[in-house]
């Protein structure tokens, strides 16, 4: 199958609205075949695990690439120079950035918009909002051309934002005055408002507002989307605190404070249905499926036990559709709960751990 044919099939698959096990399987095997044939490092990886076109019978057999591999290997079916879009991770630990190459963003964009409309644009009084006035707490695509999140948010704004939606982060940093103006205007007009951005930017905004003694009661239907989490903090507490603070600062009920979970190494996002309780339940659309495994054995853990998340994202067709994350999670009714990074364990002994060593190595 050619790449063009695969892209067409995927667009149709997304448009189909749902997929049963068999349909998902068929599409997953087609994507795997494409990756196995066009992507030499992935083929080596799969072969090493004795997974070939012959042995992979179900989507569960598709070998999942550890996300760290995106740093060491060029995982792309198309030669990288033929891929106009490259998303890169922020590369915080080793200074090396993981890359996802996209020969086209048609599938990525379709995946994003179909899913976003369903999960973020729902009107609590029935139907969907066509557009909402948005404030974006993240730099633009022009400022961060390799950020998948910048692209995601730009797409949200262009596809679902009203004409007067705007960025609240500029070259000069957080535009607190602009944010206050936008939030006040929403209060006055009574039109629902949407605030979207990186979790830490939202925290910065809340800090800045607190400093000025400002809080808001946004009109009914207003909502907030945050993504990216809170590194280095005690997660459960931080989430609980974060969402109650969000709700108090902007007057948005916690069930309309939605967290998006996405990764540079994927082309599809997960959402929760608000954060009335934390950790919330996250789920994705019909073209992505997740498993929870023991990272050491690769075996699925019993339902309800904590493990590491593996995502099978058919929309990520050029690199590797199955990825092994470093995120701990637990499968629950309707999706999974995200429990933070799986390697954030406190050192038990006095043997130096990788992270400290790297920190030491980076020090002058």
């Amino acid at each position: 199958m050619t790449e063009a044919q695969l892209v067409e099939d995927l667009l149709a698959f997304i448009a189909a609205g749902e997929a049963d096990e068999e349909a998902f399987n068929r599409m997953a095997l087609a994507v795997f075949a494409h990756q196995f044939e066009t992507n030499a490092p992935y083929r080596r990886f799969a072969t090493q695990r004795a997974r070939t076109l012959r042995t992979v019978k179900s989507w569960r057999d598709v070998p999942a690439v550890p996300i760290s591999a995106f740093k060491d290997l060029t995982l792309s079916g198309r030669p990288p120079e033929e891929c106009p879009h490259v998303f890169m991770t922020s590369g915080t630990t080793k200074g090396v950035r993981g890359k996802s190459h996209h020969p086209t963003l048609a599938v990525y964009d379709r995946s994003m918009t179909v899913n976003f409309r369903r999960r973020f644009m729902a009107n609590p009084y029935g139907g969907n909002f066509e557009r909402l006035r948005m404030g974006i707490l993240f730099p633009t695509e022009q400022a961060m051309p390799n950020s998948s999140l910048a692209h995601y948010l730009a797409l949200a704004k262009s596809e679902f934002g009203t004409a007067d939606s705007r960025y609240l982060i500029t070259d000069a940093g957080l535009d607190v005055d602009g944010a206050i103006e936008a939030l006040s205007r929403a209060e006055t007009t009574g039109e629902p408002y949407a605030l979207l951005g990186a979790s830490f930017s939202v925290v910065h905004l809340m800090d800045a507002l607190a400093e000025r003694g400002r809080s808001f009661v946004l009109p009914a239907g207003s909502r907030i989307l945050d993504t990216g989490g809170f590194k280095g903090q005690s997660r459960e507490m931080a989430a609980e605190e974060f969402y109650s603070r969000l709700s108090a600062t902007f007057g948005v009920p916690r069930r309309l404070c939605i967290n998006m979970y996405g990764m540079t190494e994927l082309s599809t996002q997960f959402y929760d249905d608000g954060n009335e309780t934390c950790p919330s339940v996250k789920s994705g659309p019909h073209w992505i499926r997740s498993r929870v495994i023991n990272p050491l054995t690769g075996q699925e853990v019993p339902r309800g036990s904590v493990g590491v998340l593996v995502h099978h994202d058919l929309a990520h067709f050029n690199c590797a559709s199955a990825i092994l994350t470093e995120d701990a999670g637990v499968e629950v009714e309707g999706g999974f709960q995200l429990l933070g990074r799986a390697d954030g364990a406190d050192a038990k002994g006095c043997s130096m751990a990788v992270e400290d060593f790297l920190k030491a190595a980076r020090a002058p």
């Binding site: 550890p66 760290s68 060491d72 023991n294």
Partner: protein
């Protein structure tokens, strides 16, 4: 429910208790750790200080050592109830294999028997009597060594019994002792104090074993502000936080996390010796699942022997597999499993890009050896029985690459001929390595070991000198003067 700590003079009902729960499979153990109010901290600090001043100072080092020896003898006696309790509960608390804990305890405790304690003292003091009374000095005059009246130990980590090292060092210099229990193993230090109380209650009144939650600023400041000297263990971030709270006039002795490694010379790599060397290397890796600062994370293996570095990696893998059957690794938390998996995955992926690399491991992930044909310096492993083997042309080639890590280097387990050993020791010492030992002994330092290159006892004391001038001047005022 086990009660942790040792609080002389404070009634258990008067203090708050907090429960730490430990799980291993279906078994759970609740350990109550004391939570003291600020006034109780003050009271306890004063009591320990006063008791140390009046009682410990009046004893000779030999008498104190004899008491410690008796306490250690009880812990070495497998029929003693304390020993039995330690064997029963420590595997549950730390998760380590029971047999490994049993053997480990015996080996470790042997380091603190009477004759060994004399080694501790002799290592640091040419004349041990200097701890008891003023002794003549080579330069003239007299000097006596005084330990701190109140020595605070901030312990960390889950290696059973580890607090004993600094606790005993403190007692040998007659320091009133307050130890903060590590949350990962909050039992052993308190037990030791209680055994001392059964042998010599007055001595045990000079010791308090307490607990506070890491980072509890109020409790930490209260204790840090009352100590004369603070010995603290932990990661650099934790130590930095403590240092920021230690008054400038207080001596602060931090022991940070360290990295250790092994070296195997081609002279150890013939068919007759390589197997045994690999077995000892594997034992160092498996012991306490690499949680100790002395646990090896990398082995540099010299090319040119009968057994190639690549083959040695295979031997090591085989031995780790065998040891896994004998002493299973402790169950890992999901976070630890994640760390091991991400290290392993990264090593495996490097192998796809670079055919001179290989990863050997069992499918269940209970150990792994990453091999590289061209060692690119010291590389930390994923811990919990994961290790890197890197081939080098000459062992000495590995040394320059170590220099950036000077502050973090500790033990080198070495298999080499005598001449090589001394040549390497010079080079390794110069880049910061503080201990060289045989493979198989990396996790069991000998009595009197200069931990991280420092002095166990000497670092704790201050010297009071009577200069010759005072002595001569005193003569004038003697009643017998003419």
């Amino acid at each position: 429910m086990e009660r942790a700590g040792h609080l002389p003079g404070l009634s258990a009902d008067a203090v708050g208790w907090r429960t730490l729960t430990f799980r291993r499979g279906a078994e759970t153990l609740d350990v109550a750790v004391p939570v003291l109010a600020e006034a109780q901290i003050a009271e306890l600090a004063t009591r320990v200080r006063t008791n140390a001043r009046t009682y410990l100072r009046s004893r000779t080092v030999a008498e104190i050592a004899a008491t410690i020896d008796r306490a250690v003898a009880r812990l070495l006696d497998r029929d003693d109830p304390w020993r039995q309790k330690a064997e029963r509960l420590l595997p549950l608390v730390t998760g380590y294999d029971a047999e490994m804990v049993r053997l480990g305890l015996t080996g470790y405790l042997k380091t603190f028997r009477g004759p060994e304690l004399r080694k501790f003292i002799a290592e640091d003091f040419a004349n041990p009597a200097v701890l008891d009374d003023f002794q003549p000095m080579p330069k003239g005059g007299f000097a006596r060594a005084f330990g701190p009246e109140l020595l605070l130990h901030v312990w960390a980590g889950n290696v059973p019994g580890l607090p004993l090292w600094s606790l005993i060092s403190g007692l040998l210099v007659k320091a009133g002792t307050v130890g903060k229990l590590p949350s990962a193993e909050p039992l052993f230090a308190g037990w030791f104090a209680q055994i001392l109380a059964e042998i010599d209650p007055e001595l045990a009144d000079c010791i308090a074993i307490v607990w506070w939650k890491g980072g509890d600023e109020v409790a930490e400041r209260a204790w840090l502000g009352r100590a004369d000297t603070v010995v603290a263990y932990g990661g650099n971030d934790a130590l930095e936080a403590i240092r920021a709270r230690v008054p400038i006039t207080t001596r602060f002795l931090p022991y940070g996390h360290k990295i250790s490694f092994g070296m195997v010379s081609r002279s150890a790599l013939d068919a007759g010796k390589a197997g045994a060397v690999a077995r000892q290397a594997a034992y160092d890796v498996a012991r306490y699942d690499q949680q100790g600062c002395y646990s090896p994370q990398t082995f540099f293996v010299e090319r040119g022997g009968r057994v190639s570095p690549r083959a040695f990696a295979g031997y090591l893998a085989h031995e780790l597999d065998a040891l896994g059957g004998k002493f299973p690794r402790r169950p890992l938390s999901m976070g630890e499993a994640g760390s091991v998996a991400s290290w392993r995955n990264a090593e495996e992926t490097k192998g796809f890009a670079d055919p001179s690399r290989a990863l050997l491991g069992d499918p269940a992930g209970s150990w792994a050896v990453a091999y590289t044909d061209a060692a690119d310096g010291l590389s930390p492993c994923g811990l919990n029985r994961t290790v890197t083997v890197g081939a080098v042309g000459r062992l000495a080639d590995a040394v320059p690459g170590l220099a950036p890590y000077r502050a973090f280097l500790q033990t080198v387990g070495i298999a080499a001929a005598p001449e090589e050993l001394f040549a390497l020791a010079g080079a390794l010492g110069a880049v910061g390595v503080t201990r060289l030992c045989a493979l198989g002994r990396m996790t069991a330092p000998e009595a009197g070991w200069h931990h991280d290159g420092r002095f166990n006892l000497l670092d704790l004391v201050t010297m009071t000198e009577i200069e010759g001038s005072a002595e001569r001047a005193a003569d004038i005022f003697a009643p017998y003067t003419d």
